[in-house]
Amino acid sequence: MPLASYQTSVPVVVDDAKCIADKGCTVCVDVCPLDVLRISDMTGKAYMAYDECWYCMPCEADCPTGAVTVNIPYLLR
């Protein structure tokens, strides 16, 4: 069966202006228990690559520049 992609609004938002992933920071990607954050090849910034979030907060709490915001996933809100 062919696969289709599925649209979803992701709960973790990264402020590109504050994110320093392009300078080598990987803190949020490192600490995420569900391993859903990645660094974009295009922008060099962190982003939520997989919508599998426990809205737990380490990414936001540990970000050295305050670039990460965790929102409640829409389905729970």
Partner: protein
């Protein structure tokens, strides 16, 4: 390199003691093993990152089961847990925990974790349980993981993050020989030979589907997909009382604790829609959950945690805990719905099912030395069978496991295993990556967990369980033959689905085996509605025998602390009696 690209790789390392799972019990087990023999190699393997993994990823508000001299005795605690767990308890392990946990509290204190004291300098222990007093707040509870991590670094524990263990290795004579794992970002295989292995892999928290429909909106850390239960099963270890599910009273939709353990001691209580109390005690037990369930269905639901009658300063104090540790996004959630605890109660509901001995009793069978039924294999924390053991139980029993496992490793050499087992497991693990076309893991998982809700959620009806078993078997076939993973991350999820499926099968099997009702809502069988002490006052042990799932009875060990006849059913008396 493209995102999560699959890399072909196989490497092998060895260590004396391998600890799998770096949440709560795991770090303590690794630390104690290393301190027992500093020359030995201890590896701590973690699917996520030890810095922020497990149930206490964001810390914890307090200890729920602290046995503190002057407030409680090990005898009282053992008695309470025995009664709370409907008598099906091997008391030796609970009693040992109760005796040892105070030392662990002092040790945690030396790590920099603080515990609430009153003006006299005594521990400010609170009452939440039905009988005794065991709840001790942690003012800097958000720092627990950091404190543990410092100790691990100091002791030079070898930490391997982002490796998911998939199967245990054994020798032909049945002794543990190590584990096979896969890198969650590259799919490379890592074989770890070990003289002893400690499983600390948490609850099976992704078993039922949250009613929000969001698969990762679980009570437990959603990384806890029951991998430890599945691995122990396939290694031939016995699993105890899996039919004693974990079902929790939680904030509706958010699916985290409301939390009566924090707010109760300040005067908050569980109320129905009339604002009346209906349960005597907010401590989580199957009997309490049954009353919660009955109230929801009685027309007096929804059920709420009520704080609004408290002084605003008290509410602010409760808020500062609830919105800071364990599940800090509780504040954000309530804010999004414009719920202010000062004028509105917190709407609650009943969670989906899971396995977790931390709150109930479903776990890999262990004795009072944390030994499983497989020589050299240990288990601790939420996945081991010591009931109601919470965070302090994970620390305390993790400590027991670490020390005993290192003794075992000191007295044994590496066990030999069949190299063909590695090739076989590698093929199994990578199978979803070899298909060109198929069903993605998220769909297999959604369907499996939806079936769990539809057919397995109590009350347990035999006919529903039989149908559920058939539907699960069909979905298992899809999983084994058609599931596809296009990158290493999808492979991680594909492997987790296999753990979830194993746990669902075990839940069905264990529930059908025990032909009585026990533990309130946790094992309420409509076809056998009564408690049957004559035939079922026993543990049930589930294991894989000759490739087949098998259940058997195991006698409850003679009690260390006797329970008087008039005490046995204290937890059955949860409902507040109507007054004229």
């Amino acid at each position: 390199m493209a995102l999560d690209q699959i890399v072909d790789g196989l490497s092998e390392v060895s260590c004396d003691v391998l600890v799998i799972g770096g949440g709560t019990a795991g770090p303590m087990a690794a630390l104690k093993a290393k301190l027992k023999n500093p020359k030995a190699n201890v590896v701590l393997l973690e699917k996520a990152n030890v810095k922020r993994s497990g149930a206490i990823s964001m810390g914890m508000d307090g200890l729920n089961n602290a046995v503190i001299p002057g407030y409680a005795t090990p005898e009282q605690y053992t008695k309470e847990i025995t009664i709370a767990n409907d008598g099906i308890v091997d008391q030796k392990a609970v009693y040992k925990y109760a005796q040892n946990c105070y030392k662990i509290i002092e040790e945690l204190d030396s790590f920099g974790i603080r515990f609430l004291k009153n003006e006299n300098g005594d521990y400010a222990v609170k009452k939440v349980h039905h009988i005794g007093t065991y709840v001790l707040p942690m003012p800097n509870g958000e720092t627990v993981k950091k404190a543990l991590y410092r100790q691990l670094r100091r002791a030079r524990i070898l930490i391997s993050n982002r490796y998911m263990a998939t199967r245990l290795l054994k020798s032909s004579d049945g002794r543990i020989a190590g584990a096979i794992s896969v890198n969650t970002r590259t799919a490379e295989i890592l074989v770890i030979k070990a003289k002893a292995v400690i499983l600390c892999m948490g609850a099976a928290g992704r078993l039922g589907l949250p009613t929000s429909g969001y698969m990762f909106g679980t009570y437990e850390n959603a990384a806890n997909s029951g991998d430890g239960y599945s691995m122990a099963y396939h290694a031939g270890a016995a699993l105890a009382n899996l039919e004693c599910y974990q079902i929790n009273p939680l904030i509706k939709d958010y699916n985290g604790p409301a939390c009566a353990y924090v707010a109760g001691p300040f005067g908050a209580f569980t109320a129905n829609n009339e604002g009346s109390r209906f349960i005597e005690c907010d401590y989580w037990s199957g009997q309490m959950m049954l009353e919660f369930y009955n109230e929801l269905l009685s027309g007096k639901g929804p059920v709420f945690l009520q704080l609004k009658h408290l002084h605003p300063d008290t509410i602010s104090e409760i808020e500062s805990t609830l919105h800071k540790v364990e599940r800090p996004t509780r504040g954000l959630f309530q804010q999004g719905r414009s719920v202010d605890y000062r004028n509105e109660s917190i709407e609650m509901h009943i969670s989906e099912i899971g396995f977790c001995s931390g709150h109930s009793a479903s776990g890999v069978f262990v004795d009072d030395n944390a030994r499983t039924t497989v020589p050299g294999l240990y288990a601790a924390g939420d996945m081991a069978s010591v009931p109601h053991n919470y965070m302090l139980g994970a620390f305390t029993n993790g400590s027991v496991a670490g020390i005993d496992a290192m003794e075992f490793a000191d007295n044994h050499d590496f066990a030999e295993f069949d190299a063909a087992d590695i090739a076989k497991e590698r093929d199994r693990v990578l199978a979803p990556t070899k298909r060109e076309d198929g069903i993605p893991p998220n769909q297999v998982e959604y369907k499996t967990r939806r079936l769990v809700n539809d057919y397995l959620q109590p009350p347990k009806v035999t006919r529903k369980y039989e149908l559920g078993m058939r539907r699960l078997a069909e979905t298992r076939q899809d999983m084994q033959e058609r599931m596809i993973a296009r990158n290493a991350h999808e492979l991680l999820r594909a492997l987790e689905v296999q753990s979830i499926m194993d746990c669902a099968d075990m839940a069905v099997h264990a529930s059908l085996y025990r032909e009585e009702s026990r533990w309130g809502l946790y094992h309420w069988r409509t076809d056998f509605p009564e408690k049957d002490n004559e035939n079922w006052f026993c543990h049930t042990l589930l294991s894989k025998q000759n490739g087949k799932m098998t259940s058997e009875k195991r006698a409850v060990e003679p009690y260390v602390v006797p329970i008087a006849d008039d005490e046995k059913d204290l937890y059955d008396k949860q409902r507040i009696r109507a007054t004229a």
